[in-house]
């Protein structure tokens, strides 16, 4: 499942790069920084990432996903640091739902 999620995130980041001046370094794969100290996303970029990732994951797995808790946007040390950390986070959320 995690590989499929990585593939989804790479696709989402690739699309997101079309509107970013500083691009997400997709070539770094899982290590590509997203949000936080090393990341290239500002708050709107992060919102775009969240909405697109949720939509793509839902299309792929048929499960509704909520990457924000509804109160505030994630902090810098959140699962949104890199593509890899976000993939772990999404995998956990989907697996929690299974149980």
């Amino acid at each position: 499942m995690r590989d499929e999620i990585i593939a989804i995130l790479l696709k989402v980041c690739n699309e997101l790069n079309e509107q970013l001046k500083n691009k997400i370094e997709i070539g770094k794969g899982e290590q590509a920084p997203l949000f936080g100290k090393q990341g290239v996303l500002d708050s709107l970029g992060l919102v775009n990432l969240i909405v697109s990732a949720e939509s793509e994951v839902e299309d792929k797995f048929g499960k509704s996903l909520m990457l924000t808790d509804g109160t505030s946007l994630p902090e810098a040390n959140s699962p949104f640091r890199t593509i890899g950390s976000l993939a772990y986070y999404i995998t956990d959320l989907l697996e929690d739902e299974k149980q």
Partner: protein
């Protein structure tokens, strides 16, 4: 290195347009746009608070109707509000937009839409008295009516952008998290339309479609199966698709886009098919020219362009054969050769998606363009039958009518100013309002030239203008449509300006040439035929007033200026 941006635009909205401007900032397609995002939610303040120093080429206004109009919001909330009250609010908005339009060259307004999931009054939503969709349609139409007298305001159909994203065009989540109502597909489509609009208003739309024949205009190889057996019309899905494609091309032709043929065939066989096949929508007279033979298509295209006096940058070449497309692309880089589907049932859609045939205004010249080019073809035939160019020019019985800029001709003059490339000394681009303002200034003089001959009336095809300071005049604009180039109209224009200068005691007349990659024909005229002295260092031309500009007996002049 940062590329120079061709336009600067300000984006005004009552929602967050950052995603939209981010796409524009990062898009490398022509034209490059420098964006400024106005703070959202301040639409009226920005429109009414604009000052003369606003330096943007264009403005782009995109608002949500329920956020911008209190009365419409009430209607959506189930309150009874009269249509007239809502339209009064639209009037206030329209007035603010009109006021703002004098500070920019062009102003684009996105039409109003509501989310597809919003059901309004359901079954009653299109009712005249309280249907919400009905009301929104009327608001959009009312807005369009209010702008009908403004030639630099363009209402863009945002429904198309929404449809391209399908059911998911509106994102509640993006809205709540960032006040962005639309997903990014919508913004990408909007960007395409905006860029297409900017290309159109600056004269970069395509003017001519060159078409292949076999498996492009009809199904099958006419040389092999004969015209009677071509797939065209009839009770056949492929045949129907070719008829629909021809119908779409004819519609473009009726809007002023020129059509021509370049095909590898026997000319007699191909023309017989065009003339005799009962289901041909396009007739022989719909084409301004054709090159039908077995030569290389690139060579034929260049021959054809020479005949019709158009540059490759104005042309789209449509051919079903990928090898021919690649060959033409490689040998004529300026020509637009779109990828073309294998299946003829996708032809119409692909043609519409090219998005390069828009016009900024519709003039008589646009509507009669094919006839004007056909007349040019008659002129060329006459030219080759006569011994000298002078004999030919005399036989044309050309009449040039000179007029000052007026309400009657400003629209066409601005259009000509913004689209003429080849015979254009400075390639200055101005909106209608800017041109009008410029011409009204005391130190400026501008003349327009209408050209007709025994074959056709080419309409307003030339402009010359000067800036005068003391006893010196400088030519600011010198431009002539390629349709009438090389018929002594250029010389006539220069002569008129010289006569004016002499009558006003002007002792120095300069023409400064601003080179572009398209206006060498203009340089050639000034260097070899104008009689002016060329200053290579300054790239300028100077008239020696001790000389006398020769008469042009081949041209009859009617001076109404």
């Amino acid at each position: 290195m940062q590329n120079k941006k061709e336009f600067s635009g300000i984006f005004i909205s009552n929602f967050n347009l950052q995603n939209f401007t981010n796409y524009i900032d990062n898009d490398v397609g022509f034209p490059l746009i420098e964006t400024e995002l106005a703070p959202f939610g301040q639409v009226t303040n920005i429109l009414l608070g604009a000052k003369n120093e606003t330096k943007h080429d264009f403005g782009f206004i995109w608002t949500q109707p329920h956020a911008g109009f209190e009365s419409f919001s009430k209607l959506m909330n189930g309150q009874m509000v009269s249509l007239s009250t809502i339209l009064e609010e639209v009037d206030v908005f329209a007035e603010a937009v009109k006021k703002y339009s004098s500070f920019v060259k062009y102003l684009f307004i996105a039409s109003w839409v509501l989310p597809a999931y919003y059901k309004g009054m359901g079954l009653l939503d299109l009712r005249n008295d309280y249907g919400i969709s009905n009301c929104l349609m009327r608001m959009n139409l009312h807005l369009a009516d209010r702008f009908s007298d403004k030639n630099n305001i363009f209402l863009l159909n945002s429904q198309k952008w929404i449809e391209s994203a399908g059911e998911e065009a509106f994102s509640s989540k993006l809205w709540y998290l960032s006040k962005t109502p639309f997903v990014n597909v919508v913004f990408k489509e909007a960007m395409k339309d905006l860029k297409s609009a900017l290309k159109t208003v600056t004269g970069n739309s395509k003017k001519l479609i060159i078409l292949d024949l076999d498996d492009t205009l009809w199904g099958g190889i006419v040389g092999e199966v004969g015209w009677e057996n071509l797939k065209l019309g009839g009770h056949d899905f492929a045949g129907e698709s070719f008829v629909e494609f021809q119908t779409a091309l004819k519609a473009l032709k009726n809007r002023g886009i020129l059509l021509a043929i370049v095909s590898k065939n026997e000319e007699v066989t191909a023309l017989e098919a065009i003339t005799k096949h009962p289901e041909m929508i396009l007739k022989k007279e719909d084409f301004i020219a054709w090159e039908i033979n077995w030569d290389d298509k690139s060579k034929n295209i260049l021959n054809l362009l020479r005949k019709v006096n158009l540059g490759a940058q104005s042309v789209v070449f449509i051919d079903d054969n990928p090898v021919e497309r690649a060959r033409v692309r490689e040998s004529i880089p300026d020509i637009f050769v779109p990828e073309w589907p294998k299946d003829s049932m996708h032809y119409v859609k692909t043609l519409h998606q090219l998005n390069c045939f828009d016009i900024a205004a519709r003039t008589d010249e646009d509507l009669n363009r094919t006839e004007l080019y056909q007349a040019e073809s008659e002129r060329s035939k006459l030219r080759s039958s006569l011994n000298s160019i002078d004999d030919w020019l005399v036989s044309l019985k050309t009449v040039v009518t000179i007029e000052k800029l007026s309400k009657a001709n400003i629209q066409r003059a601005a259009q000509l100013l913004n689209k003429t490339n080849q015979m254009n000394l400075t390639t200055r681009r101005l909106s209608e309002a800017e041109l009008s303002l410029w011409a009204k200034q005391e130190e400026h003089e501008l003349w327009t030239f209408r050209v007709s001959d025994k074959f056709s009336d080419s309409g307003l095809t030339g402009i010359i203008s000067i800036h005068i300071k003391d006893d010196t005049a400088q030519i600011v604009d010198f431009l002539l449509s390629c349709r009438v180039m090389g018929r002594k109209i250029e010389e006539t224009m220069v002569r008129i300006v010289l006569q004016f200068c002499i009558s006003k005691g002007i002792t120095k007349l300069i023409a400064e040439y601003v080179p572009t990659n398209k206006n060498k024909p203009c340089f050639d005229f000034w260097k070899h035929k104008s009689g002016f002295i060329f200053n290579e260092e300054q790239n300028s031309f100077l008239w020696d007033f001790s000389n006398v500009f020769p008469d042009i007996p081949q041209i009859e002049i009617i001076n109404n200026a």
